[in-house]
């Protein structure tokens, strides 16, 4: 594994290599190198299986981190290839040409995070959020609570008490605060 990582560092400039769990290693690569690296891993290094593609929203840094999880059935090792992309107009090379099923993940990422994968099949279609009319819900600026308050019905007669106010009323009604 170390020889492989050394070579990838030279050939693809991978960085931030870390062992997350036994047999799971993650590494980072620049967006421009990502597709070439993944292809190399699939075709020459035995990482023939795409476990999944997922995304983490680092809103504070203005980036999405895409994670391509690849598996090697030969030595049972797993590699997580991480790619940082801009949050604004987020776009990434499609890898449906490498694994046909990748388009499903890419369609989901488009729906949940708003990331574009030009050329990926059926990108424009709804995936699980039929009729969704808001910003992609996994983007962290999406306010789940506000959305749920405005969208879903409320049961009649529900009341909730604030712990602090309830305790004041019960235990020290004449104390505390401006009086």
């Amino acid at each position: 594994m170390n020889t492989l990582l050394d070579r990838l560092a030279t050939d693809f400039g991978i960085y931030d290599i870390s062992d997350r769990k036994p047999a799971i290693t993650t590494l980072k690569v620049e967006k421009q190198q990502a597709e070439r690296l993944i292809r190399e891993l699939r075709d020459r290094e035995g990482y023939t299986h795409l476990n999944f593609i997922t995304c983490i929203d680092y809103i504070e840094q203005g980036i999405f981190t895409l994670v391509y999880m690849l598996h090697n059935y030969g030595d049972k090792s797993t590699l997580g290839v991480e790619v940082d992309i801009d949050r604004e107009n987020a776009e990434m090379t499609s890898i449906h040409t490498l694994w046909a099923q990748a388009w499903t993940y890419q369609r989901e990422l488009r729906e949940m995070f708003g990331i574009n994968f030009p050329g990926s099949p059926r990108q424009e279609e709804d995936f699980c959020l039929e009729g969704w009319d808001d910003i992609p819900p996994m983007r962290r600026e999406f306010n789940t609570k506000t959305y749920s308050t405005e969208t879903f019905g409320h049961r009649e007669g529900r009341v909730s008490e604030d712990p602090r106010e309830h305790m004041k009323a019960q235990l020290y009604p004449t104390r505390g605060g401006d009086n």
Partner: protein, 597 residues
């Protein structure tokens, strides 16, 4: 058509009598996975009703509702979460945030009811078949949505601290304070426990917002001694902080101090001052300790003309003369007191009631009086030889040091007692270069002193001797020394169920000679300044007042508070007594202003 085709329908019918290959009731026989996020389980007895589940729920599926059997438990709001399964999406954020670790999910996922209102229940209070399920989603060990450990406070090491009277605690930096403030779940359970009911979650939020002026305003609503309490408060709030159940409580006291330290006293007037509308009433306050000055501050804010009578040369009471400067530097205390004076409180120092001013004159001259004279008389050990000149009182030693006077303790000292005065007298003695033994009649675990004082005094190499009962003080023939005879104690269970009692073991006696013995076994009051006729009308038990509603005594004009009128005898209780008496005096003198009357 072949014969087979002709007969095939009959072969199919034959199957109807065989055991089916499919499960008849698949739902009952297919339990959820072991960590499935199914229906909620709340261990209602461990839950403290902090409402974090309610706050974090993105679907507004959780209400906090009162449950009678949990009402009034300390550190417990008496509320419990009620789940609306019409809105729940089983994301388990409520389980992940649960401070008490009482909320889990079972792996049960089927519940059939005809009435949709049934899917609404108070977990752990209403009986449900899954309540005792072991399976289902539990928060993983060590997994927290907030850091369970508090931000370490930068302190002098014990070796450094005994070298001087410099403040031991350095205070948080802004970065540290914000990180610590970030751990608060804003439940507000602490507000009930704080004797002054300070707006803790709100001022902690002001740190997160970087708005320290709002923080200061919030603190002054309930406490005009924030610089002081930010250092030496007994911080009972932290004992009930829900974050402390599975981690370390928020450092509420240090955060309070942080806010005060950010604001220059020059800016106090601009931030805090509001117009004072004189109401023409006059109130006298006796004692310029935290209780008296708190009453004075809040009365002044309500428009009263307030005169404080203080026997000592400066204000602060026990905060000034009883708390050493390494815990509470004078400039921090002065920051609080100077602002109280600046709103127009008149303090008459060096004025002894009963000598310089007569109590009955005050009764005639003022519309109301607040008494907060504290506990200033050292309790007696009641053993032979106690009046030996080398037996000093802890209070006197601390007061001398506070005034910059040498208390003359020598190089080898025994401190008798296990309270904060004993710990402070011992730690002061270490700073004056003495070796210190602390003799305490019970076990260390039973010492009434704050745990951190006990810990720090041990770190500063005070030698704690537990289960040591003083028996006799003896003269050595030298004017500079004194001998104490003390015996070991055995703890004996109280048959009535009280706390174990130390019983002297006559055969295990020790004698030791010291340069002085510092007695610090407690304090009593001195109420001689109150004329006997008035004393008779006040309910005084064991030298302490027993105030009624709004700190009022039996006499309608006299309100009482502070150590001389409460059991807790700490600064924050005195501050609340003063504030509450101010509310009471305002209700007494302006009865029309309150709807409740």
């Amino acid at each position: 058509m072949s014969l087979k085709d002709l007969l095939s329908p009959f072969f199919v019918w034959q199957r109807a009598f065989e055991k089916p290959w499919t499960n008849m009731r698949p739902i009952e026989e297919r339990p959820g996975a072991p960590a499935y996020r199914g229906f909620h389980i709340n261990l209602a007895d461990s839950c403290i009703g902090c409402g974090s589940c309610h706050s974090i729920c993105q679907n507004e599926a959780i209400d906090m509702v009162p449950v009678e059997e949990f009402s009034g438990r300390p550190g417990d709001s008496g509320l419990r979460p009620r789940f609306d399964y019409g809105r729940c999406c089983w994301c388990a954020l409520c389980v992940d945030i649960c401070t008490a670790n009482s909320l889990h999910m079972s792996n049960e996922y089927t519940w059939l009811a005809r009435d949709p209102t049934d899917y609404h229940f108070t977990a752990g209070v209403e009986e449900k078949p899954w309540q005792d399920s072991e399976l289902g989603y539990h928060r993983a060990e060590g997994y927290h949505l907030y850091p369970p450990k508090r931000i370490d406070m930068d302190m002098l090491t014990a070796d450094e601290s005994v070298q001087s009277f410099d403040e031991v605690v350095n205070g948080y930096s802004e970065e540290q304070a914000k990180l610590e403030a970030d751990r608060c779940v804003e439940c507000g359970i602490c507000v009930a426990t704080c004797p002054a009911h300070m707006d803790v979650p709100d001022y902690i939020r002001s740190i997160r917002d970087g708005d320290f002026e709002t923080g200061l305003q919030l603190m002054y609503r309930t406490n005009p001694f924030p610089a002081t309490c930010g250092r030496i408060c007994t911080h009972r709030c932290e004992e009930v902080c829900p974050v402390g159940i599975t981690g370390q409580p928020i450092a509420i006291r240090w955060l309070k101090r942080f806010i005060v330290d950010q604001v220059d006293s020059i800016d106090y007037a601009r931030i805090l001052d509001s117009e004072i509308i004189e109401n023409g009433h006059k109130v006298a306050v006796i004692g310029a300790g935290p209780g008296g000055l708190s009453a004075a501050y809040y009365l002044r804010k309500k428009g009263y003309s307030v005169t404080v009578y203080e026997s000592q040369e400066t204000g602060g009471g026990m905060l000034r003369y009883g708390v050493p400067s390494y815990r509470l530097p004078d400039d921090a205390l002065d920051k609080d007191i100077d602002y109280i004076i600046s709103v127009g409180v008149d303090i008459r120092y060096n004025t002894i009631i009963g000598k310089d001013v007569m109590f009955e004159d005050l009764l005639g001259e003022y519309d109301a009086i607040f008494l907060s004279t504290g506990l200033s008389v050292p309790s007696s050990m009641r053993i032979n030889g106690e009046d030996h000149p080398r037996v000093l009182s802890g209070l006197q030693v601390l007061a001398d040091v506070a005034r910059g006077k040498d208390p003359g303790i020598g190089r080898k000292v025994a401190v008798i007692g296990g309270g904060n005065v004993a710990m402070d007298a011992a730690r002061v003695s270490r700073r004056l270069g003495a070796d210190v033994d602390i003799l305490y009649r019970r076990r260390i675990s039973e010492m009434p002193a704050d745990p951190e004082e006990i810990k720090e005094s041990q770190e500063e190499k005070c030698n704690l001797v537990e289960k040591a009962i003083p028996v006799e003080i003896m003269d050595t023939g030298s004017k500079k020394q004194v001998t104490i005879k003390w015996g070991e104690a055995e703890m004996v269970q109280d048959p009535k169920g009280g706390r174990p009692r130390p019983v002297l073991q006559e055969d295990r006696m020790h004698t030791e000679t010291y340069d002085c013995i510092i007695s610090a076994i407690g304090q009593g009051s001195n109420l001689d300044f109150i004329t006997p006729a008035v004393q008779e009308q006040l309910a005084i038990e064991w030298g302490k007042f027993t105030p009624g509603e709004y700190q009022r005594s039996e006499l309608e004009k006299i309100f009482v508070g502070g150590d001389v009128a409460n059991r807790t005898a700490d600064a924050i209780s005195a501050i609340e007594d003063g504030h509450h008496a101010a509310r009471g005096i305002d209700r007494f003198l302006k009865p029309g202003a309150y709807a409740e009357n």
